[in-house]
C-alpha cells in the first residue's frame, strides 16, 4: 500500500481509538476469549435468543422496506396536495425517540396485545417497522431522485398505474440493498423489542457484560458477527459505482391520482396519532400548569444543549464515511460499519475499562468517551451516506474531477455535490444520537443533559405526563429535522 493511501485512512482514527483498540486491550487483558470449549456451550444456550433476534430483525427489515418502497413510489411518482407535509410526517416517526414511540404504540394497540407469547415478537416487529420504514422510504426516494432525466421523462409518458408499477420494479434492486442495510441496523436493536417483552441477543450481551458472566457476553457478541458478516458478504458486491445523473424534471408531467393521495393521507395517520397521543398525555391539569411549564422549559433547554453535540458527532461520522467512500476504500468502510452492528454496551464498557487508569479527572465531567462511542456507533450511517453520496454523482462529472489535484477535486467538486445526501444523513445521525440510551446510560457524565435517558427513566417509573412533555419537544425537533431530509427529495415529492 502506498504512503498516500495510509494517510487517506485518517477517518478510521475515531473508530480505532473508540472501539477496536479498547476492545482488543480489554480482550487481551482479561483473557476473555480464551475458553473456547465453555464458550461454545454458553453460546449454545443462547441459540434460541439468537433465532428470535434474527426472526424479528429479518421480518422488520422486510416489512419496513416494503412499506418504504410503497411510500417512495407514491411520493416520487405522483403529485398532489400537501406532499411536503406528508413526507415530513412519514419521516417523523424515525426522528421521535424509541421510548416515546413504544409508549405511543402500546397506548394505541394496548399493552396486552403485545404481551402474549407469539404476539411479543409481533409487537416488536410493529414498533421496529414504524420506526425504520421512514428510513427505507428516504433511501428509496433518494434512489428515485437519482434517475437519469431521460428515464424519468420516459416514465411520465406511460399510463399512471403502469408508470407506478414500472417505478416500483426499477426500485426493487435498491430495495433489496435497503433491506440488507436495515437488517444490519436491526440485528443489534434492543430498546424497542424490550418494550414488547422480547429479549434480543443485544440485551443478553448487555446483561452479561454489566451484571453477569462477562466472558459469555463477549462470546455472544462475537457470535452475533456471523449473521452480520453474511449480510455484509451479500451487500458488498452491490456497492459498486454506477452511472447516474440527477433528473431535473420537477413534478411537471407526474400524474395526479386520488387513490394515491388517500393512501398517503392514511400513511400519515400513525405519526399524527403519535403526536396527538403525546400532546393529550402532556397536557397538564389547571393546577399543574406552572410546574408543567417549567418542566417543558427545562426539557427544551436540555435538548437545545444536546443538539450541537449531536450535530458534531453526526457530522464527524458522516464525513469519515464519505471520505472513505470517495477514496474507494471498501474494506475500510466495513471496518467503520462494524461497531454499529455490535451492542453499544460492548464498545462503551471496553472504552471505559481501557481508559479508566489513564484519563485525567478533569475529563470525567466532559462527555468525551460518550461522544467517541457514539461516533463509532454511527459508523454504518456514515458509510451508507458515503456510498450513496458517491453514487449520486454521474460518472462523467466524477471523471472530470479526477484531473484536478486530489484535495481540490474532493473538496471543491465532489463534496459540494455530495451535500444533498450528506446533510440528511447528518440529520438522521442527530436523531440517533438524541434517542440513544445504551452508551449514554454507561458513559454520560453526572449532570449531563440526556433527554432520551431521562425519557427512558420517566417511562420506567410510569411518569407518563412528564415523559410525554419531553417526547413532544423531541417530536417537534424531529419534525423540524425531517424538513431538512425532505428538502432534497421534494423535487420529486411535490
Amino acid at each position: 500500500m502506498k504512503k498516500r493511501h495510509i494517510g487517506d485512512l485518517w477517518p478510521l482514527i475515531p473508530v480505532l481509538f473508540g472501539f477496536y483498540i479498547p476492545i482488543s486491550y480489554v480482550a487481551i487483558q482479561d483473557g476473555l476469549l480464551g475458553s473456547t470449549g465453555s464458550g461454545a456451550a454458553q453460546i449454545g444456550s443462547s441459540v434460541a435468543v439468537m433465532v428470535v433476534t434474527l426472526r424479528v430483525a429479518i421480518s422488520a427489515a422486510l416489512l419496513a422496506t416494503l412499506l418504504g418502497l410503497l411510500d417512495a413510489v407514491f411520493l416520487a411518482g405522483t403529485r398532489g396536495p400537501a406532499r411536503a407535509f406528508i413526507a415530513v410526517m412519514l419521516l417523523a416517526t424515525f426522528l421521535i425517540p424509541p421510548a416515546a414511540l413504544a409508549s405511543a404504540v402500546q397506548a394505541v394497540l394496548g399493552s396486552s396485545t403485545l404481551r402474549a407469547t407469539v404476539r411479543d415478537e409481533t409487537g416488536a416487529v410493529v414498533m421496529l417497522v414504524v420506526r425504520w420504514a421512514p428510513i427505507a422510504c428516504a433511501m428509496l426516494l433518494g434512489a428515485a431522485a437519482m434517475w437519469p432525466a431521460e428515464q424519468e421523462r420516459a416514465l411520465r409518458g406511460l399510463s399512471p398505474w403502469l408508470a407506478l408499477l414500472t417505478r416500483a420494479r426499477c426500485l426493487v434492486p435498491q430495495a433489496l440493498r435497503c433491506a440488507g442495510v436495515l437488517l444490519l441496523l436491526l440485528i443489534p436493536a434492543s430498546e424497542l423489542p424490550s418494550y414488547a417483552g422480547v429479549e434480543t441477543i443485544s440485551q443478553r450481551v448487555h446483561a452479561r457484560l454489566t451484571v453477569g458472566d462477562v466472558a459469555e457476553g463477549w462470546q455472544l457478541a462475537l457470535a452475533m458477527l456471523i449473521p452480520v458478516v453474511v449480510t455484509l458478504f451479500f451487500l458488498t458486491p452491490q456497492l459498486q459505482e454506477s452511472a447516474r445523473s440527477q433528473s431535473g424534471g420537477g413534478s411537471q408531467g407526474l400524474p395526479r391520482l386520488g387513490r394515491v393521495d388517500l393512501l398517503l393521507a392514511i400513511r400519515t395517520a400513525p405519526a399524527l396519532a403519535l403526536i396527538i397521543i403525546l400532546a393529550i398525555t402532556a397536557w397538564p391539569r389547571a393546577s399543574e400548569l406552572a410546574t408543567a411549564g417549567s418542566e417543558l422549559l427545562s426539557s427544551f433547554s436540555g435538548i437545545l444543549i444536546e443538539v450541537p453535540r449531536a450535530f458534531l458527532i453526526s457530522s464527524i461520522a458522516v464525513i469519515c464515511g464519505w471520505r472513505l467512500a470517495d477514496g474507494g476504500y471498501r474494506w475500510a468502510l466495513l471496518v467503520l460499519c462494524l461497531p454499529t452492528v455490535l451492542p453499544g454496551s460492548l464498545g462503551a464498557l471496553a472504552l471505559l475499562e481501557a481508559t479508566r487508569s489513564i484519563t485525567p479527572p478533569v475529563f470525567d465531567d466532559l462527555p468525551l468517551l460518550l461522544s467517541l462511542t457514539q461516533i463509532c456507533k454511527l459508523g454504518a450511517v456514515g458509510a451508507a451516506a458515503g456510498f450513496v453520496a458517491v453514487r449520486v454523482i454521474p460518472v462523467a462529472e466524477r471523471n472530470s474531477s479526477r484531473f484536478l489535484t486530489p484535495a481540490r477535486g474532493r473538496w471543491r467538486v465532489r463534496f459540494p455535490r455530495a451535500l444533498p445526501v450528506l446533510l440528511p444523513a447528518v440529520v438522521v445521525g442527530i436523531a440517533l444520537v438524541m434517542g440513544e440510551v445504551e452508551a449514554t446510560l454507561l458513559l454520560a457524565p453526572p449532570g449531563h443533559p440526556a433527554p432520551a435517558l431521562e425519557l427512558h427513566q420517566l417511562l420506567h417509573f410510569r411518569n407518563d405526563e412528564q415523559a410525554a412533555r419531553i417526547a413532544l419537544v423531541l417530536a417537534m425537533l424531529g419534525a423540524l429535522l425531517a424538513t431538512v431530509v425532505v428538502a432534497p427529495l421534494s423535487r420529486k415529492g411535490k
Binding site: V395, A396, E397, N399, S400, R402, F403, L404, P406, R412
Partner: protein, 209 residues
C-alpha cells in the same frame, strides 16, 4: 522542453478490457503540437482507449508514455491528475454547482489559462455572455462548448477529447476547430475519438476486438 517532432504520446501494445470485451493491442504515436483522431465503428473501443490513456479505465497490458514519461507500464500507474492531461468525455461532465467561469478557473490554477485568455476563448466559442451561468442554464450544444472551454483552460500538454463535435451544428464545429488549431499552435497535442472518418487529421482506425 518538448520539440515539435518529439512524441507527446506513445501507446505500445495497449490492451484494455471492458467487461468481457477485450480491445487491442493498440499502438500509435502522437507528436507534440499535432492532432490525431481515433476512428472506428460503434463499439470499436475508441472511448475505452481514450479512458485508458487518461487513467480512467484499468489497462490489462502494454505501456503508455506522455511527454516522454511513462504513466503506465507494469506496476507503475500514475493517477489521472498526475498525467498532464486535460479531458473532455463523451457524456456531459460539467459540475452543476459551479458557474462555467468558476470551473475554468478551478482547472486553470496549475499553469493553465489566465482569466483574460478564458474570456477570449469563450468569445471564440460563442459563449462569452454565458460563462457566468450555471450549466443548467445552457443548451446542449452550449454545454458541450463550455465543457471544451473548461478542458482547454487547463495546463496539461495533452488534450483527450471524446466526440467533441457530437452536439454541434456547422457553426459550432467550425468554432471548435478554430480553438483546437489555436491550441495546437500553442504547442499542445490533441487526441480525439471521432465517429466519422476525418480527412483533415491524421487518423488511426480501430477494428472491433
Amino acid at each position: 522542453m518538448m520539440q515539435a517532432n518529439d512524441p507527446a504520446l506513445e501507446v505500445v501494445d495497449l490492451i484494455v478490457t471492458r467487461g468481457s470485451h477485450s480491445i487491442g493491442p493498440v499502438s500509435f504515436q502522437l507528436s507534440v503540437a499535432n492532432q490525431l483522431a481515433l476512428t472506428g465503428r460503434n463499439g470499436a473501443g475508441k472511448s475505452s482507449v481514450l479512458q485508458a490513456i487518461a487513467g480512467l479505465l484499468p489497462v490489462t497490458s502494454g505501456s503508455i508514455k506522455i511527454g516522454g514519461q511513462s504513466v503506465f507500464c507494469g506496476s507503475l500507474e500514475r493517477e489521472p491528475w498526475q498525467r498532464g492531461i486535460d479531458w473532455l468525455g463523451q457524456e456531459r461532465g460539467l459540475w452543476p454547482h459551479l458557474s462555467i467561469e468558476a470551473q475554468c478557473q478551478l482547472v486553470a490554477r496549475d499553469g493553465g489559462k489566465t482569466s483574460g485568455q478564458i474570456k477570449a476563448l469563450a468569445q471564440l466559442l460563442d459563449i462569452g455572455d454565458r460563462i457566468d451561468r450555471l450549466p443548467v442554464a445552457l443548451s446542449g450544444g452550449e454545454a458541450q462548448r463550455a465543457e471544451l472551454l473548461r478542458t482547454v483552460s487547463g495546463g496539461g500538454g495533452l488534450l483527450l477529447l471524446d466526440e467533441p463535435f457530437s452536439a454541434q451544428n456547422q457553426d459550432g464545429c467550425q468554432r471548435i476547430e478554430t480553438v483546437l488549431d489555436q491550441e495546437c499552435q500553442a504547442g499542445r497535442s490533441i487526441l480525439l475519438a471521432l465517429h466519422q472518418v476525418d480527412s483533415e487529421r491524421e487518423t488511426v482506425a480501430l477494428e472491433e476486438g
